[in-house]
């Protein structure tokens, strides 16, 4: 079998004495949504920062499209086709929505006209067409999340890392954005999403990795992972699986 688009091999990261990520491995392939879940503080965002080049791992390798990209700076990874969104949204606050997306679009388009055309296309794809000329700092939380997504998409990525794009959204906003993400996947983009909204993970992801205390403790289809007692214990504490199993067995 060919190597998957993204291959993270036994990556570790240490912040001083704290081992935030401990020999974690995962992979992601084109046209698939891969989820990375885990309790708070498990090291998910740190792992994302390593994949996207914002942090250098203390140990381990990150391979992308068959090449070793460990420790490459973020801007070079973006050129290779890796885009990310930030858990805490990072809009260019002083600029309009259009100008925000334009920054991403210019990665592949040198001319202003071509880049602006990309902006229009991406904005309609994620549903921001109506607010293109609004200052980014006047947007609602949901629209800011969409803007994060739009900017990343404008770079025309092959691999998209989504860090909690659904967090902070209400159920109807989630219902609106889930088809957008699924649409990207059918277009061939490999998506890795960190997510706490389990309902969305269950319906979107094909493959799930569970990170707890820096280590991958389980992986598989959403159904397999949800039934895994190790995962239940990681979320709810030692012995929880047994108690739950006793209460209502599957």
């Amino acid at each position: 079998m060919a190597e998957p688009l993204l291959l993270v091999g036994r990556v570790s990261h240490r912040f001083g004495g704290l081992l935030a990520v401990n020999a974690a491995s995962l992979f992601a392939s084109e046209s698939r949504i891969t989820a990375l879940i885990g309790p708070n503080g498990a090291g998910k965002t740190t792992l994302f920062a390593i994949i996207s080049g914002f942090l250098k791992p203390s140990e381990g390798k990150v391979r992308y499209a068959g090449e070793d990209i460990t420790g490459e700076p973020p801007y070079r990874l973006a050129r290779r086709g890796i885009a990310r969104t930030f858990q805490i949204v990072q809009p260019f606050a002083g600029l309009s929505v259009r100008e925000n997306i334009l920054v991403g679009a210019h990665l592949r388009q040198r001319s202003r006209e071509a880049a602006l055309a990309v902006v229009e296309r991406v904005a309609s794809e994620v549903g921001l067409t109506g607010v293109l000329d609004r200052p980014a700092d006047t947007l609602t939380v949901a629209a800011r999340k969409r803007l994060e997504l739009a900017r990343a998409l404008a770079t025309e990525p092959k691999l998209l890392l989504l860090d909690e794009v659904l967090a902070g959204l209400n159920p109807s906003e989630i219902r609106d954005i889930v088809p957008v993400i699924r649409g990207l996947c059918t277009r061939g983009i490999a998506i890795v999403m960190i997510e706490h909204v389990m309902q969305a993970v269950m319906s979107l992801a094909e493959h799930v990795f569970v990170l707890a205390e820096g280590s991958i403790i389980a992986e598989g289809t959403p159904a397999q992972v949800a039934a895994d007692p190790v995962v239940v214990e990681a979320y709810l504490g030692h012995g929880a699986a047994a108690r739950l199993g006793g209460a209502h067995a599957h």
Partner: protein
């Protein structure tokens, strides 16, 4: 082309001034203000669009002035060649300072302090080095011929300074509309987000510093030709670092016309204060300080930003009511 119409209009208006005004005092005032506007546009490229606040743009101004003067006086180089070399030297100093500061990741106040240190090191070196004439300075021989870049008439100098300003306005506008400009503004707004979108932050900042250095150096070259005298306190003095950052901040930081507008206002206020109080030393600086505080307190985007906001508010009002109603 529509985007460049305001530049053409403003430059045409300025160009007509000597046809109406013949007072040497007023023309002299305008030449100096235009020179500061030019130097300020240099600062604006890096500080306004790129968000990198330099406190040491005297490093570029002084390099331009000294290179122009020294090449003529000591090496007999033609003044125009000296002028061009001065601009190139400013770009080179920009490349060196950019490489040293941005590659090592200096940001914000650390960057500002290091640029100030560079300018001071250059000032102190120039005040002792034999080649600069040390404490005595360098005097360019009076030679009122066009080949020597010297002119009998103030109006000619005025038009030359205006042409340089026009070029700097054009450069700013071109940057605004280019990919490089989009990236530069992205760096100003949020470096991490810019990097994630493929912007090579250090390279973009360094390139801005080179352009910035060249433009501010051009003002220094012009200074040397206009006043025919350079010493370390003038060329590398903190006065120019301050005026160069004041004018865009007061006029409108990160806008094409901010430095020009700011230079006119700041210089007029400075002159006005001197007229009223006689030649009390340092009073112009007090006025600059007061204006700066007022602008930052009430119009953080400068006079141009403030005017634009006021206009928008007036034009938007009906639309907003409809929206809420």
């Amino acid at each position: 082309m529509k985007a460049f119409a305001p530049i053409v209009l403003v430059v045409a208006l300025f160009a007509a001034v000597p046809l109406v005004v013949h007072s040497n005092v007023i023309l002299n005032f305008l030449v100096v203000a235009l020179m500061i506007a030019l130097a300020g546009q240099g600062w604006n490229v890096l500080g306004g669009y790129g968000g990198q606040y330099s406190f040491g743009h005297a490093a570029f101004f002084g390099t331009g002035a000294y290179v122009t003067a020294i090449l003529q006086v000591r090496y007999g180089v033609n003044a125009w060649v000296g002028f061009a070399t001065g601009i190139a030297a400013g770009a080179l100093v920009g490349a060196v300072i950019g490489a040293l500061t941005f590659r090592s990741g200096l940001r914000g106040s650390y960057f500002a302090l290091v640029t100030l240190a560079f300018a001071e090191v250059l000032r102190i070196s120039a005040s002792v080095a034999p080649i600069t004439g040390a404490g005595v300075g360098t005097l360019i021989k009076l030679d009122l011929r066009a080949q020597a870049f010297q002119f009998q008439s103030r109006a000619t100098f005025y038009w030359i300074s205006l042409a340089l300003v026009a070029l700097s306005l054009l450069i700013a506008k071109l940057i605004e509309r280019s990919r490089f400009g989009v990236w530069l503004v992205a760096v100003r707004e949020n470096e991490d987000a810019a990097q994630a979108l493929g912007v090579d932050v250090a390279t973009v900042k360094s390139a801005a510093m080179v352009i910035s250095g060249a433009i501010t150096a051009a003002a220094g070259c012009f200074y040397a030709q206009y006043f025919l005298f350079v010493d370390s306190g003038i060329a590398y003095g903190t006065w120019i670092s301050i005026e160069v950052l004041l004018t865009p901040i007061i006029g409108g930081v990160g806008t094409v016309f901010g430095p020009l507008f700011g230079a006119m206002v700041v210089k007029a206020l400075g002159e006005g204060a001197q007229l009223v109080t006689g030649d009390a030393p340092g009073l112009d600086l007090v006025v600059y300080g007061a204006v700066l505080i007022l602008v930052i307190a009430f119009m953080p985007r400068g006079l141009i930003g403030g005017l634009a906001q006021a206009r928008q508010r007036l034009m938007r009002r009906p639309a907003v009511e409809v929206h809420h109603g």
